[in-house]
Amino acid sequence: MISKEEVQHIAKLARLELTEKEVEKMQKDLSAILDYFDLLKRAPKVKAQPASAKAPAWRGDEVISSYDIADELIGQAPDKKDDYIKVKNIF
């Protein structure tokens, strides 16, 4: 079974706060799911292939204004001042 510390480490990487109870449940659930993933070990090896065989979609590097919805976008922020989104001190 995956350890409590391991669950807490992953949760921190994911920026998720979990309660004691949630950590315990997560230990159980993740262990069952990870055990199930073990069956992939039986899958035949394949040569590494590029993620996409398709050519990437290119476009010109042009400025397209979305200023007409700027108010709506900033309006969604929980904490703001004028046209700025407020963030807590990071120092």
Binding site: I10, A14, L16, E17, M26, L39, A43, I69, Q76, P78
Partner: protein, 464 residues
């Protein structure tokens, strides 16, 4: 009640107006106890219907003009709330229209409201909604299927003429199967994803849920095509297909009819295959030999992509924010309190699979297996035109039956996830019932061959 075609004819022949039609659906919605809608806007719906009626009066209007529809609440409709059935987005208002919505609006549809779903489209039963599960219209003690639970239930219960859902691992086909309606998961790239709240970006597709195959085709035609806002969208013209059951080569994956499938479901699917054969189709057994790895592969790739996509819900730019302590605390608490159990579980799986030391064993391995699954289908389509198989190994399950065992819930997706991993189109067609519970036949086509699926599914509709 009415199909799109019938409603269109009625509007054209002045038997009723779009306002009449819209009011009739709104009445149904208000009386409903299915919890299929998360929100609807009566005043706005009537206003859209009035505009449609004016257009209809002018004599020049398209087939979807004035037709009332429902939209999965993971797709943005400007000015309306878009919650993804999550507490973290409970009060989020969409600042712009998704491309599919823009296209539907150009035709003059009436948007009735936004439908319920599993939170962030993560689930197969519809029970993971932060606002309560959607009930199955055929048996209210059972689930509607997920994640597009409300989109399928609303069409089945005549609360909308058609709806849009999204499908990452079965989310259009499963609820369509459980609710007895027709749902299409299009080829990856056929429909723009712009304005769909992202779950698994290499898997997600928006598609129609409708009363019959023709309606699904009408809606698909309206929403497909290249969009400059989605680099993965493709130029696409849906051409008429002359494909017919007579002489058609239908592949039956032998790996799909083994243990785990409900006997009654198996009987219904085999009966559908027999009907196709009677109509002149050639039935060919095929092998999708990597099938046994598909579910594990999917449940690594989809959560990995989700863990990256959902990182944006940080309590700063939008949605719920718990302003407590320092910046890290805001992140931890907003996500911890804003996301539901299943969403957290998937973020954890994804973060684990991508974390240092585990990446090769999980994510990289899953990407390799994905290649094998693609190759299986490519090989199969050298021999056959379409593939027939079940959508789900079981009919609609009881509420709460699998909520405590996530793995058993995931197993419901066993026949649907491969299609997303390979980027193929697939349709769920009502094929029969186990007692009063509908069962869907899954028709899988090769890339961008929705036309073939539509042509054959319409024939199947007549013989089933």
């Amino acid at each position: 009640m009415l199909t799109i075609r019938q409603a269109h004819e009625g509007l054209k022949n002045k038997e009723f107006t779009s306002v009449d039609l819209t009011k009739a659906y709104l009445e149904k919605i208000k009386k409903s106890d299915l919890n299929s809608f998360l929100g609807f806007n009566e005043e706005w719906a009537i206003e859209q219907a009035e505009n449609a009626d004016a257009k209809i009066k002018s004599g020049k209007f398209e087939i979807l003009c004035g037709i009332p529809c429902a939209i999965k609440d993971a797709i943005m409709v400007e000015g309306q709330k878009c919650t993804a059935a999550s507490k973290i987005l409970e009060n989020y208002v969409a600042p712009y229209d998704a491309t599919v919505i823009k296209k539907l609006k150009e035709q003059g549809v009436v948007i009735l409201g936004k439908t319920n779903l599993d939170e962030f489209a993560m689930g197969g039963s519809g029970e993971n909604s932060a606002f309560g599960p959607t009930k199955n219209p055929h048996d209210k003690t059972r689930v509607a299927g997920g994640s597009s639970s409300g989109s399928a239930a609303s069409v089945a219960a005549n609360e909308a003429c058609f709806s849009l859902g999204s499908d990452t691992g079965g989310s259009i086909r499963l609820p369509s199967s459980f609710c007895g309606v027709t749902g299409l998961k299009p080829t990856y790239g056929a429909v723009s994803r712009y304005g769909l709240i992202a779950f698994g970006s290499s898997l997600d597709q928006i598609g129609p849920i409708a009363k019959n195959v023709k309606d699904a085709e009408i809606v698909f035609q309206a929403i497909c095509g290249k969009d400059k806002m989605d680099a993965t969208s493709a130029d696409y013209n849906l051409e008429f297909s002359k494909a017919s059951l007579k002489g058609l080569k239908i592949g039956i994956p032998k790996e799909y009819f083994v243990k785990g499938i409900d006997k009654e479901v198996e009987k219904i699917i085999k009966n559908a295959i027999k009907k196709a054969e009677d109509a002149g189709a050639e039935i060919i057994e095929i092998s999708l030999k990597s099938s046994e790895f598909a579910l594990a592969c999917y449940y690594i790739i989809a959560p990995s992509e989700a863990s990256a996509n959902l990182a944006r819900f940080d309590g700063i730019r939008y949605g719920m924010s718990v302003q407590d302590g320092n910046l890290l605390d805001v992140y931890l608490k907003s996500k911890g309190q804003g996301f539901g159990e299943e969403v957290k579980r998937r973020i954890m799986i994804g973060t684990y699979a991508l974390s240092s030391g585990y990446y090769d064993a999980y994510y990289k391995k899953a990407e390799e297996v994905r290649q094998l699954i693609k190759q299986d289908f490519a090989k199969a389509f050298e021999k056959v035109d379409l593939i027939f198989c079940p959508v789900s190994p079981v009919p609609a399950i009881k509420m709460g039956e699998r909520t405590n065992d996530p793995l058993s819930m995931y197993l419901m997706d066993i026949y649907t996830v491969s299609v997303n991993l390979a980027g193929l189109p697939a349709l769920s067609l009502p094929a029969g019932k186990v007692e009063n519970l509908p069962v869907g036949l899954q028709i899988i086509g090769n890339h961008f061959q929705e036309n073939k699926i539509f042509a054959v599914a319409q024939e199947m509709e007549k013989v089933l």
